[in-house]
Symmetry: C2
Subunit: 220 residues, 2 copies
């Protein structure tokens, strides 16, 4: 069994998430930016993670996760998302309040806690933001979903996720009545600023390009 600190785990998660978006090795600067630290600190940590065989790191060439590092990062995401489900479903927090708690809870160590939590929550497959929760074997469910910006006027979709987990965005969605499972019809796209005219349960709204970019939908 391998011991990891919270700091190491956070770096692993960041490497995982950057790798998801961009192919190829993760560069030091990108990692430092994601972690809110200096490039020097990132280099430092990469050496430690490399010593622990959690990443494959080549000087000046960037870093990738080893199978073990990938397994660990996946497990952290699983834990984070399961705790988010707990906080929303059981403790009644709003979807914009749970991130910081989950960020701490995901580092709690010990046998079986995650799987028991998973059982207790009835094996949820998506977290309160619509993100998939890997199962105990690290398997992911990928749903076909597209950004609102890719729809053509007249198309309809069901909200399945968000690509911005910050409070201001989530609270803005709350105000508009946008939540997971809500149906949205794209009425028109304004040529000037690419904003979206949409219909949500009968009412019409205008969403900026930025907001539209951060909304994932399953097409009807």
């Amino acid at each position: 069994m391998l011991l990891t600190t919270s700091a190491e785990e956070n770096y692993l998660k960041a490497i995982f998430k950057i790798s998801e978006k961009e192919p190829g090795p993760v560069l030091t600067n990108a990692l430092a930016a994601a972690m809110g630290t200096s490039a020097a600190s990132a280099t430092d940590m990469l050496k430690r993670l490399s010593d622990k065989q959690l990443v494959a790191y080549e000087k000046y060439r960037g870093v990738t996760l080893t199978p073990e590092g990938d397994r660990l990062a996946t497990s952290l995401i699983r834990k984070h998302r399961l705790w988010e489900v707990f906080l929303v479903e059981k403790l009644g927090f709003a979807w914009d309040e749970v991130h910081d708690f989950a960020e701490q809870l995901e580092h709690v160590q010990g046998d079986n806690l995650t799987d028991r939590l998973d059982d207790y929550l009835n094996h949820p497959r998506f977290d309160p933001h619509g993100d998939p929760i890997p199962d105990a074997q690290g398997r992911w469910i990928r749903r076909p979903q597209v950004r609102l910006t890719t729809l053509t006027p007249g198309q309809k979709g069901i909200v399945t996720g968000v690509d911005d987990h910050t409070s201001p965005f989530l609270q803005y969605l709350d105000e508009l009545g946008i939540a997971l499972g809500v149906a949205i019809e794209l009425l028109d796209r304004t040529a000037y600023d690419q904003s979206s005219k949409v219909r949500i349960s009968g009412k019409e709204y205008t969403l900026s390009e930025k907001a539209s970019q951060n909304l994932f939908l399953r097409l009807e």
Copy 2:
């Protein structure tokens, strides 16, 4: 708002617990022993806690909690015990499995988490080991309870708590069918080794003085 690290919080809790048992200021060696660190490390930490006004520390004279330190320690014990209730009641862990998890969970920071957890658990007043859970205002419920070693033969009691939270003891109690709420009658005390002959739901057992010492009962 005051920021504390997990290490600081653990020292505060240790000071609180030693203060509960012995009157007067807590001495450096006692604290170091409780924390499993050296006296030098304890001195080091006492300076930090003193700077943060969480303890009143006088060189060579020992340490006491300030009102703020007491408030914080109480809150940590509240959090620890609420999480233990969660782990046992909701996740189905045994009473000997939850300590290490709760030790980590008690350090999770953020507004309202504890009170929401308390609501969700229906404001339990005792944890799975029978220890009282302070309320949101830091008020304690003290129950009249005595050790099995103080009973005279013929007296009966209901198990209300344990004074040893380690797995070996708790599992031993499981084997004997001793749990919170179970009735025990002291039949006899062996003069030679002070062991207790007891009756538990019809069956007779012998408990060592050590085990008897660690069992709390409410007299019938």
